[in-house]
Symmetry: C3
């Protein structure tokens, strides 16, 4: 009997050690994941949008403003919808990661309306979008029981189609008056590459930040890594092919090279295999480059959607692709392949509650629900933002920092360089 | 008896596991903390100061030089003053974090004299300031027993008022001869935003880098996070309000948005609560923006303090605010609220050595001591730096890289400036 | 007997805990190491090369392309040569770090031919260099049993001399036709500093990423940290000394300040001591600055090696220095000094298989082998790249993005600003 007691005590000891250890290890890994996602939100998204020649202050500055606001609002909204414990919202690393995810979605929508909205409009959009994001996330992950760790559906598809719908409602027929500013200059493209590279490097952390620790998390990170690598090669190759003289286009490199991360957002934690991930990444890069080249002009001319950053090509189509890949991979899941990992990835299949094929159907329904809420939400939000009370810029002064920022002198102008500006140009700018 | 032996052995086993585990876990977390602080020192401070149009090389280059020097000197000085073990200085992650903190203080002072000092002057200033920092830190933390994990007093208040006093002594009545260079250009402001965003993102790590691991560290990080978020919103709002036509000012965004991190440097690890942190952050952003708008011109004209980066607004006032918030929060500490955490935050109150109210007094005295040493030290240092032997720049060539750096040609000058390109050149290029 | 059983069980418990814990802790640290190295490869190398005024797109863009490709190819090649387990290649954090190391070597070679090669040439070079890297690594680390955790030999020496030999074979006698573009402009130098600072900050992680966890890893990181700090001071001092009027040269700061990390790549994990590391760092900075000032022009004129980034000064000579320091330090290893750590650093000396002096000889032979494979491999690769089928740029359009990228309009050209500068103003600036 004393021996039994001893065994029991030894057991308790080790167990406690293991548990506290697990908690702390989880913590350490989670902190790293949070930090990486945080860098993606503030540096990645912020600088990715600095490509416009005269909208760098607004890109990085409004990104900063929206993110700082949305983080707090998302903590509240996600807490209300699915994080209440005895009437209190628990905050911690996991809630901070989820708030970053929600913020990412808002920043994707920001990309669609970049240069054409006032900060007040953006804040109003954030209020509505964060709320709907939390509702959609609750329906998809909790009610429908779908899996979407990296957010192909809940973050990318939702953010993209929400933003595209807002852009549709806010359509500006005379936007070509600001056309000469809706493009990059040499150094603005280099600033944007800072954003691209940070997003690319930390995407494996993004997709795996809230997966189960251990094997599951590693698999997600590796799948994302291989998908991105293949996507990048596809992007460079195709960018040279579709150009008229074999030259590379910075727009493709900055954006399409990231589509591989979007497209494994759902299936990344599943048994996609490295080779499968590379195929998905290759496909994502391909549709993204083709989208920029052929689809974006059509969207603008036929559907009247002025998508400044091309979020349809980076987040929209690759997000839908990712949702479909996720549904198919889920439907094909077997206990032979997943082994003990099944409990982490598909607890409902493990417990025998659902068949794998039904999990696939759940995933497909979740995509439809996400699209529905995003499009409807964007439509309503668009009409709310159309009210003439937010100080939106006129068609002639879009893509221009000067309307919302005190601008410094021109490059080198104080350095005894004279800035010759025609009077009516200057007038417009200071208007 | 064998069973007791077994219990004892099992206990030993688990204990060792726990201890080594704790050491390693501490290590892992501490490494992350160190890395984040390191990025803040080199990228954050370095690029934050690149906002000047012709002083980018010096900002990031001298920042690099001073930091590389001060790190080593601080390791020695902090070792001499409070890190000796049997006649040897122990180095490790904790000493590296502390050296980074000390370096941060020197870089804050650098901000006050930016553009008006030679590298030799900066190195001499570092030698003195690092030494006084170590002495002040020893008095505040060890002799007086105050708490200041994030350095509202020891780092920010000390660095700011030291630098302001140096700037006062080095007052240049004819600085307006270089006035046209004491401002930003478009791209230099974007480089500065890289510094701002990195400082903002990693500030929670800064404030929590040397707190007790576990709950204490989490609380500190969360308090800092919420303070920064609220501060950012306050900064944007107030920046638009104080401007003459509702436009945002980059100077405010780059600096005041960070004041929330400074202001919870002392109280961050205390039971400030998320809501309390947000109030502090809101206040910090407010006084910082108002400082830039109304106080800085007065400081320059009446007190003859030419504060290039406005460190009084970002580090000085928010640092003092943080010290006061810390003193009040400490004085209000009760065992009911802190529970077991009291041992981590206020070991002297836990052990019954002091009352909470007395801890508050200690904190207040520490602020006074810090201000005293900083101002006196800055005064003496200023006079030492005034000796005409360091190659300081003349009033006409301040804020100018050209005096210390071999400068490359102008933007595009080699590219046949103003882009005059002969037709066949252009043809070749497009071939 | 029950008690024995209990002991045994308690032992098993703790053992499992310890093992799983060790694995996880290793994991957590390894992940941090991987992330840091990853940032160095994509941001560090990518932006370090953006110093050229009209080659920023290619520098960061081709760096991205080559790295994304080489990572995958290196995983395969390193797997084939020394990572097969039962016919399968195991992938994981360690293989990802090793692939990053191999990629680093390719990017060093890229630095030697920067601006003079087409993307196709670079991809062909990557295919060959990655393969030879894996072979050389296998010979040096496994066959010869040398130690080279930070890759002074296998990464830096190999990459530099491989690239220099390629540059020699691809010698362009008429390159001075593009001479006016082979230099920096103000903002391109600031972009390059982003690369420099990131490389500098994370180099301790680079050198210690694959060392044994615990003491060994800490020692490596600390040695690298002190070497870099001393190297930076040496670089600033010497840069001012060798300049004609005491001005600092950005080329030295951007490159030579990093030589201290290269030079402790082999000896960093050995008992080099902080003071020893600082001497090595000081030497590395010195030879690197002197190399840029005096040796590079000779290499170009006499040996016909056009080394665009000066990789001979940053990676070549410091790499050889690091190999020699490693050989000497290894030869001097005694059990008195290393204690239990001997098993981690020199397992063969610990087990009595070899004498310390013989380990030194192994290290020296490894340097010779590395140089041989690099030079021969570079020679062959150079001739393969000389085939006129890769679309290499003509001599007149080297260092020019326009040949491979669709370029945006000029800075400010859309803003219709004209830059007029009076002659005496320009004079003042260049004074």
């Amino acid at each position: 009997m004393p021996a039994r007691l001893v065994i029991w005590m030894a057991d308790i000891h080790s167990k406690r050690v293991r548990e506290s250890e697990k908690a702390r290890e989880k913590d350490c890994v989670a902190q790293k994941g949070f930090q990486d996602v945080h860098v993606m939100i503030f540096i990645g998204f912020g600088f990715l949008m600095t490509f416009l020649q005269r909208y760098g202050f607004s890109s990085v500055g409004f990104n900063f403003l929206i993110a700082a606001f949305a983080l707090q609002w998302a903590t509240l909204m996600q807490g209300f919808v699915h994080g209440m414990h005895g009437g209190k919202i628990h905050v911690g690393i996991e809630s901070m990661i989820n708030a970053d995810f929600c913020t990412g979605s808002v920043l994707i929508s920001f990309g669609a309306v970049l240069g054409k909205t006032s900060p007040v409009q953006l804040l109003v959009m954030s209020v509505i979008e964060v709320t709907l994001f939390a509702v959609n996330e609750f329906i998809v992950l909790t009610v429908l029981g779908a899996k979407d760790a990296g957010g192909s559906m809940t973050i990318h598809t939702f953010g993209a189609y929400f933003g595209l719908m807002v852009a549709r409602v806010l359509y500006r027929p005379n936007l070509d008056k600001s056309k000469h500013k809706n493009c990059s200059v040499y150094h603005s493209d280099l600033f944007a590459m800072i954003g691209t590279i940070y997003l690319w490097m930390f995407w494996p952390s993004f997709n795996s930040a809230v997966t189960a620790h251990g094997d599951d998390q590693h698999r997600t990170a590796m799948n994302t890594y291989y998908s991105l690598a293949a996507c990048t090669l596809a992007t460079y190759g195709l960018s040279a092919v579709v150009a008229h003289d074999g030259k590379l286009d910075m727009v493709h490199i900055q954006n399409a090279a990231l589509a591989g991360g979007v497209a494994v957002g759902t299936a990344g934690e599943m048994m996609l295999t490295p080779f499968g991930s590379m195929i998905v990444g290759f496909l994502a890069g391909t549709i993204s480059v083709l989208g920029f080249k052929f689809l974006s002009p059509i969207l603008e001319q036929k559907l009247k959607i002025q998508d400044t950053c091309g979020v349809h090509n980076l987040h929209g189509m690759p997000g839908v692709l990712g949702a479909i890949v996720g549904a198919v991979t889920a439907a094909l899941a077997t206990k032979d392949v997943y082994g003990d990992g099944m409990a982490d990835v598909f607890p409902d299949i493990q417990s025998g509650d659902v068949e794998a094929s039904f999990q696939g159907i759940r995933q497909a329904i979740s995509l439809a629900v996400t699209l529905g809420i995003a499009l409807l939400g964007g439509l309503i939000t668009g009409f709310i933002l159309k009210l003439p009370i937010y100080g939106a810029p006129p068609d002639t002064i879009c893509f221009e920092d000067g309307i919302y920022w005190e601008l410094p002198g021109e490059e080198g102008s104080h350095e005894e360089l004279t800035t010759v500006r025609t009077p009516d140009e200057a007038e417009k700018l200071n208007a």
